[in-house]
C-alpha cells in the first residue's frame, strides 16, 4: 500500500544518450559496483543503475550489500555460457501526440555477434512493438516456448497507466522478457529479434501480423486431432505445471493477506504512538522518555510502510508474471500434443491407404515430414523445459531472497530506532537527587 499518490512521468522528447563502456572491457569490476563502471543516465524516473553485463541493479530501496552480490552472482552462474548478447530495457518516457499518449522504453543492445552490423544499438520501443515481436517469434518458432509479456490490457478507470509504479512494474517485466529471449539459444538468433533491437523504425505491417497471429496460433492450439499416447515425460510436465500454478496462487493469496494484515496493524500503530505524545504533555520528568517512545514508533511505522510497498511492487507482480509464463508453457505443451496428434492421424490414414494399395512399401513423405516435426518439437520442448526449470529456480531464489531481504531491512530499521531510544530513556535530568545509574 503506497503512502503517496502515484507520480506521473515527465513527458519530453528524446534525450541524448551517454557514452557507455563496452561490457567486455569492464569484466573485472563486475562484483564491485564502482561508480565509473556503472551506467548512470540523466533521465527522469529511472531508478535503475546498470552493470556492465546488462543487468539492472535495483536500488529503489536501500538494499544490503549482500543482496547486491546475489544479483550479480546469479547472472554470472547462468549456464556458464559466454554471453555475447546483452539487452536492457529502461528509461520509460511519456510521449504526447495529437492522436494518443503512450510510453516508450529505451532498448539498449550490446553484442559481438556477426548477425548484427554494429556492436551497440539504442532504440525506443513501445509495448505494441514488444507485442509484435512476441507474435513474430511465436509464428516463426512454433515449437519453442516464448516468454510471456506483461498484461496488455488495463482497465482504464482502475489502474493509472502512467503512474510511476505501473510503468516501472511493466518495464521490469519487459526487460525480463527481452533478456529471456536474448538468452535463448534459438530465439536470440531470430531475424525479428534482430530487427526489433536494431531497426530505427519497425516495419511492423500490423494488418498482416494480426491475421497471421490468429491463423498460426489457432491452428496449433485448437487443432482438431485427438492425441493417442502422450509420452510420460510430457504428461509429467503438464501435471507439474498444474500443481505449480496452484501453489503460486496460494502464495499470492498469502502475500496479499499479509499485506492486508500489515496495513491494519499500521492503522493501530498510527493511533498508538500519539497517545505517548499526549501523555508527555502532562509529565515533567517523563516527558523526554515518552516523546522518545512516540517518535520511535513513528519510525517503525514508516519502515512498515516501506516493507508493504516493496512487497506490493517487487514481490506480487513477479509472482503473477510467472503465472503467465506457466500459461505460455502450457500452450507449448498443447501445441506439441497437437503436432503429435496430427502425425498419428496421418500415420493411421497412410496405414489404411497402404492396406488398400498393397504396392506401396514406403512411408509417404508428408507423414515422414510430420514425424520429423514431432521429433523436432519434442527435442525443442525438452531443451526449453530444462531451460525454463533452471530459470524458474533462479527467479524464485531471487524472488524469495528479495522477500527475506525486505523483511530483514524492516526489522533492522526498527531495531535501530529502538536501540537509539534506550540512552534517551536512561538519561536522567541533572536535578534528579535519587541515586543515579552509571
Amino acid at each position: 500500500m503506497s503512502a503517496c499518490t502515484p507520480k506521473s512521468l515527465a513527458s519530453s522528447g528524446q534525450k541524448p544518450i551517454q557514452e557507455m563502456c563496452h561490457p567486455l572491457g569492464a569484466e573485472e569490476a563486475v562484483l564491485t559496483p564502482s561508480p565509473d563502471v556503472r551506467n548512470i543516465t540523466s533521465s527522469i524516473g529511472e531508478k535503475d543503475q546498470i552493470l556492465p553485463n546488462g543487468t539492472p541493479v535495483e536500488t529503489s530501496s536501500p538494499s544490503s550489500s549482500s543482496s547486491l552480490l546475489n544479483r550479480l552472482q546469479l547472472d554470472d552462474d547462468l549456464d556458464g555460457e559466454t554471453r555475447d548478447l546483452f539487452v536492457t530495457v529502461d528509461d520509460p518516457k511519456k510521449h504526447v501526440s495529437t492522436m494518443e499518449t503512450y510510453i516508450t522504453y529505451r532498448v539498449v543492445t550490446k553484442t559481438t555477434r556477426v548477425e548484427f552490423d554494429l556492436p551497440e544499438y539504442t532504440v525506443r520501443r513501445r509495448y505494441q512493438d514488444f507485442d509484435w515481436l512476441r507474435t513474430k517469434l511465436e509464428d516463426s518458432q512454433p515449437t519453442h516456448l516464448i516468454p510471456p509479456l506483461p498484461e496488455k490490457f488495463v482497465m482504464k478507470g482502475v489502474v493509472d497507466r502512467f503512474s510511476e509504479e505501473f510503468v516501472e512494474t511493466r518495464r521490469k517485466a519487459l526487460d525480463k522478457f527481452l533478456k529471456r529471449v536474448a538468452d535463448h539459444p534459438v530465439l536470440s538468433f531470430n531475424e525479428h529479434l534482430n530487427s526489433f533491437l536494431s531497426a530505427k523504425d519497425l516495419n511492423k505491417r500490423q494488418g498482416l501480423a494480426l491475421l497471421s497471429k490468429m491463423g498460426e496460433s489457432v491452428k496449433y492450439v485448437t487443432g482438431g486431432y485427438k492425441l493417442r499416447g502422450r509420452p510420460v515425460e510430457f504428461s509429467a510436465m503438464g501435471d507439474y505445471l498444474d500443481m505449480f500454478t496452484q501453489k503460486l496462487g496460494t502464495i499470492d493469496r498469502i502475500a496479499q493477506r499479509i499485506i492486508k494484515e500489515q496495513s491494519e496493524y499500521q492503522v493501530e500503530l498510527r493511533e498508538y504512538g500519539p497517545v505517548y505524545t499526549t501523555w508527555a504533555l502532562s509529565e515533567a520528568e517523563l516527558q523526554g522518555p515518552l516523546e522518545g517512545v512516540a517518535s520511535c514508533m513513528a519510525n517503525c511505522s514508516s519502515a512498515l510502510d516501506e516493507l508493504t510497498q516493496d512487497m506490493s511492487e517487487d514481490f506480487l507482480p513477479v509472482l503473477r508474471e510467472y503465472v503467465l509464463y506457466i500459461e505460455s508453457m502450457k500452450i507449448v505443451l498443447k501445441k506439441r500434443d497437437n503436432i503429435q496428434a496430427e502425425y498419428e492421424a496421418k500415420l493411421e490414414a497412410a496405414a489404411f491407404r497402404k492396406e488398400e494399395k498393397a504396392s506401396c512399401t514406403q512411408v509417404p513423405t508428408d507423414v515422414e515430414k510430420c514425424h520429423d516435426r514431432v521429433e523436432c518439437c519434442n527435442a525443442d520442448l525438452k531443451s526449453d523445459w530444462d531451460r525454463w526449470q533452471n530459470n524458474k529456480r533462479q527467479d524464485f531464489r531471487q524472488l524469495l531472497t528479495g522477500m527475506a531481504d525486505h523483511n530483514i531491512q524492516y526489522y533492522e530499521k526498527c531495531l535501530a530506532a529502538w536501540e537509539s531510544v534506550i540512552p534517551l530513556l536512561r538519561d536522567k535530568q541533572p536535578q534528579e537527587t535519587e541515586t543515579e545509574e552509571d
Partner: protein
C-alpha cells in the same frame, strides 16, 4: 477524623522523609553495574526499597504460589476460588546464614481487598498502592478474560506480591499492626481487622462528593494534583486499550506467515533440486509464526505496569478528595462558628443583623422573656466554646493532613517517574529482542532460499 495514632504516624512520616532527604541515603537495589540484568530485575519486581522503611528490612516477603480451592460462599453455594501462599522469613536469620524454612499462610484475593480498604481508611493521606485487577480487562483476543486462566493467575500472583512489597516498604504503612497480622496470622486476622471498626470510619461517597463541589479554598497544589490524576487515569486507560488492539493485529501478521510454511512444504514435494531449501525455509516460517505467542505474553508484563499506575491514579485522586473533605469540614466549622457568634451578638445587643426566621417569629409573636434569653445566651456561649475547639482541631487536622499528604504525594511522584521510566526501558528492550528475533528468522530463511 484522624486518630491520634495516625497523627503521630503522620509526623513520624514527615520526619523520616526529611531525614532521608538530608542525606541518610542507602544505595538502592538498582546498582550502577549491568544495565540489562539489574534493570530487568527491578522491572520484574517493580519496587524500590524506601529509605527509612522498617518491615521489609526485617522480613522477607513473597507470594510464592497459587492454588485452587473449593468452598461454600456467602449464599451457601459451591464455588472455586484461588488462594495465594504468602511466605515470610526474618532477614536476620538469613543474613546469619541459618536459612530457616519460611512461615506461610494462604490468603484469597478478597482478603487482600479487605486489607487495602483498611489501609485506605486508616491512612487517608497516603497514596495506597493498588491491587492487581480483579477481572482481566484490556484483553487482546488471544488472551482469555477468564479469572481461572493460569497465565492470569500467575500475573495476579506477581501483582499481589508487588502490592505487599510496596506496602511493607512504605515508611508509614509498613508499621501497621494489621498488616503484620495479615502476613503472620492466618485464622484470626479477619476478626481482628473488623474489630478496628474501620468500615464505620469510611467516608460516605455522598459526603465526599458534596465536599468536592462545595469546598471554597482547597490547596491549589491538591487541585492540580487531582487534575493530573484524572489525566493519568484517562491516558493510561487509552494507552492500554490501543496497545491491546496493536497486539491483536501483530498477532494476525505473524500467524498468517505460518501459511507460507505449509505451502512451501507442499511445493517442495513437487521439486527436485529446490525441494530441500523450500522445506527448510518453510520450517523457519512456522517458527516465525509461533514466536509471537511468547513475545506478546511477555508484553503483558508491560501492560500490568501501566495498569498499576492506572489504579494508582485513583488512589492519588482519593488523597486529593480527602483533602477537599477536611478543608470543607474546616470551612463548615468556621462558618458555623461565625454564625453562632453573630447570633450571640444579636441576642446581646438586640440588633438583628441577618434575617432569621426566629427573628421574624419573635417580631410577630412577641419577644422572649429575659430568662429565656439568658438560657439561650449561655447555650450559645457553650456552643461557641465548643465551636472554637472544633475549629482549632479542624485547622490542625487540615494542616497536618496537607503536610503529610504532600510529602507522600511527592514520594509517589518520584516513585512513579522511576517506575514508568523502568517500564518504558523494559518495553524498548522487549521490542529490541523482537526485532533481533525477526532478523534471525528471516536471515535463516534467506539462507534456505539461497540453497534452492
Amino acid at each position: 477524623m484522624l486518630s491520634v495514632s495516625c497523627l503521630s504516624a503522620l509526623l513520624l512520616h514527615t520526619l523520616e522523609r526529611r531525614m532521608a532527604d538530608a542525606g541518610n541515603k542507602e544505595s538502592a537495589p538498582i546498582g550502577g553495574d549491568e544495565f540489562t540484568n539489574t534493570e530487568l530485575e527491578n522491572n520484574k519486581n517493580n519496587t524500590m526499597v524506601e529509605e527509612g522503611s522498617t518491615l521489609l528490612r526485617r522480613m522477607e516477603i513473597s507470594v510464592a504460589e497459587a492454588e485452587k480451592r473449593t468452598g461454600k460462599n456467602t449464599v451457601n453455594m459451591q464455588e472455586i476460588f484461588t488462594v495465594y501462599l504468602i511466605e515470610t522469613r526474618p532477614i536476620d536469620a538469613i543474613t546469619e546464614g541459618h536459612n530457616p524454612a519460611p512461615d506461610s499462610l494462604w490468603r484469597r484475593y478478597s482478603e487482600f481487598e479487605i486489607l487495602r480498604n483498611y489501609l485506605l481508611v486508616t491512612y487517608p493521606f497516603i497514596v495506597v498502592p493498588p491491587l492487581p485487577e480483579k477481572r482481566a480487562e484490556f484483553v487482546w483476543h488471544k488472551l482469555s478474560a477468564d479469572n481461572m486462566d493460569p497465565d492470569f493467575v500467575e500475573r495476579r500472583r506477581v501483582g499481589l506480591e508487588n502490592f505487599l512489597l510496596r506496602v511493607a516498604s512504605h515508611s508509614v504503612l509498613s508499621n501497621d499492626k494489621i498488616l503484620y497480622h495479615f502476613l503472620t496470622e492466618e485464622h484470626r486476622w479477619k476478626e481482628v481487622v473488623y474489630e478496628t471498626g474501620f468500615q464505620a470510619k469510611a467516608d460516605s461517597r455522598i459526603k465526599a462528593l458534596s465536599a468536592t463541589f462545595r469546598v471554597k479554598n482547597p490547596d491549589k497544589r491538591f487541585t492540580e494534583m487531582k487534575h493530573y490524576s484524572d489525566e493519568l487515569q484517562s491516558l493510561t486507560s487509552q494507552l492500554l486499550r490501543v496497545r491491546a488492539r496493536v497486539a491483536d493485529r501483530l498477532y494476525g501478521v505473524y500467524k498468517v506467515h505460518g501459511n507460507y510454511g505449509r505451502v512451501f512444504s507442499e511445493w517442495s514435494a513437487l521439486e527436485k533440486e529446490m525441494g530441500d531449501g523450500l522445506q527448510s525455509a518453510g520450517h523457519h516460517m512456522d517458527a516465525y509464526a509461533a514466536s509471537v505467542d511468547d513475545m506478546l505474553e511477555e508484553e503483558e508484563h508491560y501492560a500490568d505496569q501501566l495498569k498499576e499506575y492506572l489504579f494508582y491514579a485513583e488512589a492519588l485522586r482519593a488523597v486529593c478528595r480527602k483533602h477537599e473533605l477536611t478543608q470543607y469540614e474546616l470551612e463548615t466549622a468556621s462558618s458555623d462558628l461565625i454564625s453562632k457568634k453573630q447570633q450571640r451578638e444579636e441576642l446581646a445587643t438586640g440588633m438583628v443583623r441577618t434575617f432569621s426566621f426566629k427573628g421574624m417569629t419573635n417580631k410577630l409573636f412577641g419577644q422572649e422573656t429575659p430568662e429565656q434569653r439568658e438560657a439561650k445566651l449561655s447555650l450559645l456561649e457553650e456552643q461557641i466554646v465548643q465551636g472554637e475547639e472544633t475549629v482549632t482541631e479542624k485547622t490542625v487536622e487540615c494542616e497536618e493532613y496537607v503536610k503529610g499528604a504532600w510529602v507522600d504525594m511527592q514520594r509517589f511522584k518520584e516513585q512513579k517517574d522511576r517506575d514508568l521510566r523502568e517500564a518504558l526501558i523494559g518495553y524498548a528492550v522487549m521490542q529490541i529482542s523482537m526485532c533481533k528475533k525477526g532478523i534471525q528468522v528471516w536471515t535463516n530463511a534467506k539462507e534456505c532460499f539461497h540453497k534452492m
